[in-house]
Subunit: 200 residues, 2 copies
DNA sequence: CTGATATCGATACTTCCGGTAACGAATCAG
DNA sequence: CTGATTCGTTACCGGAAGTATCGATATCAG
């Protein structure tokens, strides 16, 4: 990840890492988790599926959990949030995009495993926190822009509101064990807009 | 849990289960997870800490994950929701109570492990789904009562709104890695009330 | 071209942990 | 008393995470 890119740039001595290995491994994780569930994701299975040796995996990621975090990031990365000058439209954009990611098969298990891994290992936890922050920052940006425009009431606490926007999709997926569909997104947008703006 | 109570009532032949074992095991799980983290919760460690044998654990819970689910339920069980005739007050009640539970040390790790375990094992998943449903039902009840009173707009979708209420606390705890404090609860209550009622 | 370095795949290994089996002792119902 | 089920103790099995070592290969510095 960061390590890989840095090494690819600085180009120290020795045989360079084969680019094929990294991609194949991340793919294998997603495939295994989608087809057979989290329990099937063993390092041996990932190595076999990717056509790669186990030590090659450990040269790239310090643990299985770190590998899973990296795989998750290929699925649910940060989004770009174009400024459309309209809170409702931007909320609909970001929530629709994210709910589409969440509806991909296997994403629920990937996310659940991510949370579990973060609880286990402190190194993974920090990486996960940074990732989560990156993911939620766009929501915060949308709200801040709208507040600057006067569309969002000045007394609204942006951080609380950002949590209110980001949380329901994940909760619907992981706690309520259901897919966040378009109707749910519509309902959320209306509720949130009413919560943070001056509309009646 | 259910199994234990049923057996304690029907009283079949044979040596009865020692009540001490169940409680000591659940305590040990919470203590271990709080003091040393999830990784320290091995069945051997739980047995040792509880002064109990490993087979005694497996006579009560079919797997380690089931044991953790049971331990979690002792921490974050369902709440009673007295009808106070006022949406804002009832929301404040339920969110304050729940955020107090979440602030107990170790609850974050317990919850994260719960989600991870649900992703791994289908039996645990169903048990967890039932538990989650129990937990969120009170929120739904509050909203339905308020809608019947006319306090909540008739066009509000109760299920979506219930998710909007239940999700932020957990999200703040697990994704944003921060404790849901009283100020956050206040902010949420105001945002949600504005979202679902006729107030401007 | 040469030597140093770091990768590759393959294999074997250690270690830890979840879960089970087998025991004798204890405690109930009938 | 008899049969059933629990208890704790101990030992064991199997799987999976992570490491070590190997010869072979690829790149860089000089």
């Amino acid at each position: 990840m960061v390590d890989t890119q840095a090494r690819a740039v600085e180009r120290g001595p020795g045989r360079p890492r084969e680019a094929r290995v990294t991609g194949a491994a991340l793919n294998a994780v997603v495939e295994l988790i989608t087809e057979q569930g989290v329990a099937a994701v063993t390092m041996d299975a990932v190595a076999a599926r990717a056509g790669v040796s186990k030590p090659a995996l450990y040269r790239r990621w310090p643990s299985k959990q770190a590998l899973i975090v990296a795989a998750a990031e290929t699925r649910i990365g940060p989004l770009s949030v174009p400024d459309r000058g309209d809170l409702r439209a931007e909320l609909r954009d970001v929530l629709s995009s994210r709910s589409a990611s969440y509806r991909l098969p296997g994403t629920d298990r990937l996310l659940a495993e991510l949370i579990g891994a973060a609880a286990r290992d402190s190194a993974v936890r920090e990486e996960y926190a940074a990732y989560a922050d990156r993911v939620t920052s766009e929501t915060r940006i949308i709200l801040e822009r709208a507040q600057a425009r006067g569309e969002v009431r000045p007394d609204v606490d942006i951080r609380s509101a950002a949590t209110l926007v980001a949380a329901p999709l994940v909760y619907r997926l992981l706690a309520e064990r259901d897919l966040p569909d378009a109707r749910f997104v519509d309902n959320l947008v209306e509720l949130i807009v009413r919560a943070v703006t001056h509309e009646s």
